[in-house]
Amino acid sequence: MKGIVVNMNVHQVTSIAIRAGKILLTSGAEIYRVEDTINRICNAYNIRCDSFVLPTGIFITAYEDSGEVTTLVKRIKERTIDLKKIELVNSFSRSLKDSTPSDFVKAMELLNSIEQDKGYPFWIRLVSASVTAFVFVLIFNGNIREGIAAAIISSVIYSFKERVLQIGIFPYLGFFISGIIAGGMSLVITTLFEDLNIYKIIIGAIIILLPGMAMTNGIKDALYGDLTSSLNRISEAVFTVTAIGAGVALLLFMALR
């Protein structure tokens, strides 16, 4: 196509493509964007390839002129939302069109540095989680004291969730326990200060966990035609909200009886 002198073999190109795809998918990018990026990287190196992306895995097959076929499979276990990484990988794959790094090690180093980007320090994220809780209590017409209560609970839940993610037990148990924490702490707070509305505090406290986003993205995937991943994300959302709701309800009902 463009006649760039490529001193990279097919295997190396597909490794770069799958690495970029993995970063995108774990950062919560849409399926069509991941497939687009993989195809774009392969095209930049003049390699014909097919990609098949699910929320839980990536499959790439590249065809060589000699008729040999290289296939790579990558299993994806965890997915969060990390917009900065999406942005970086996106500009990486677009930069390939103008200048193709001919060095495999260089390209891999670049992707590694993107992947290892830690983002904002923990305390800033903690503060932003509690600010979110506070603001959403106010949006639902709560008063400032309810907002502060929700902010405190939300920061406890957020730091708990961060620890759980590091240990790596299954996520839904984490959501369930977060629900229990939210229910329990708001029960304690409302028994201490009886004029506060427990419902508003709970909503504010768990707003950062609620899967409205996953639900919307799931339907967005369906509209782009990625039905498998759409079902995947919607069921993920349903399980998440059930786990949280079960956690909260367990405590509230034990307290009310």
Binding site: I81, E87, L210, G212, M215, L223, I244
Partner: protein
């Protein structure tokens, strides 16, 4: 005014734990403000959640696509934080709460409302991105 500040913080703070890069944070917050203003002003007049959410998503879609072309970033960077305030997380939770209370009628109606507004948001965002793609492709030809 109070609504504007609340919705700005309501998208700005989520944008931080979505790890938006620093230069995009303010624009992501603004996207939330635009979506929320459209949503709330239509909701006050009609009282129809799905339509107001759809209009909010449309406006966020327009804003994000324009910003994406100006600042050369994927539009998702502005849409995700932008829709955070209008996304149906709370109805989804309410559905489970009604289920637990064995109030099945309410659970069904809130559940359908959740799916409908999630669908409306997704469709609104998609429509705008499709429209923008259509026009940029046309310009190239």
């Amino acid at each position: 005014m109070k609504q504007i500040i609340l919705s700005f913080v309501g998208s700005f703070a989520p944008a931080i734990f979505f790890n938006t890069s620093k230069r995009n944070l303010i624009w992501a917050g603004l996207s939330g403000v635009i979506g929320w203003i459209i949503y709330i002003s239509i909701f006050v007049r009609t009282g129809n959640i799905v339509i107001s959410v759809f209009a909010g998503a449309l406006s966020i879609g327009v804003y994000s696509e324009i910003m994406a072309r100006i600042l050369k970033t994927p539009a998702t960077v502005y849409t995700l934080p932008g829709i955070f305030p209008i996304v149906p997380g709370v109805p989804a939770y309410n559905t489970i709460e009604y289920l637990v209370k064995h109030d099945l009628e309410k659970a069904a109606s809130t559940g359908i409302e959740t799916i409908a507004s999630a669908g409306a948001i997704a469709f609104g965002i998609m429509l705008m991105s499709a429209a923008f793609r259509f026009f940029t492709k046309k310009n190239k030809k």
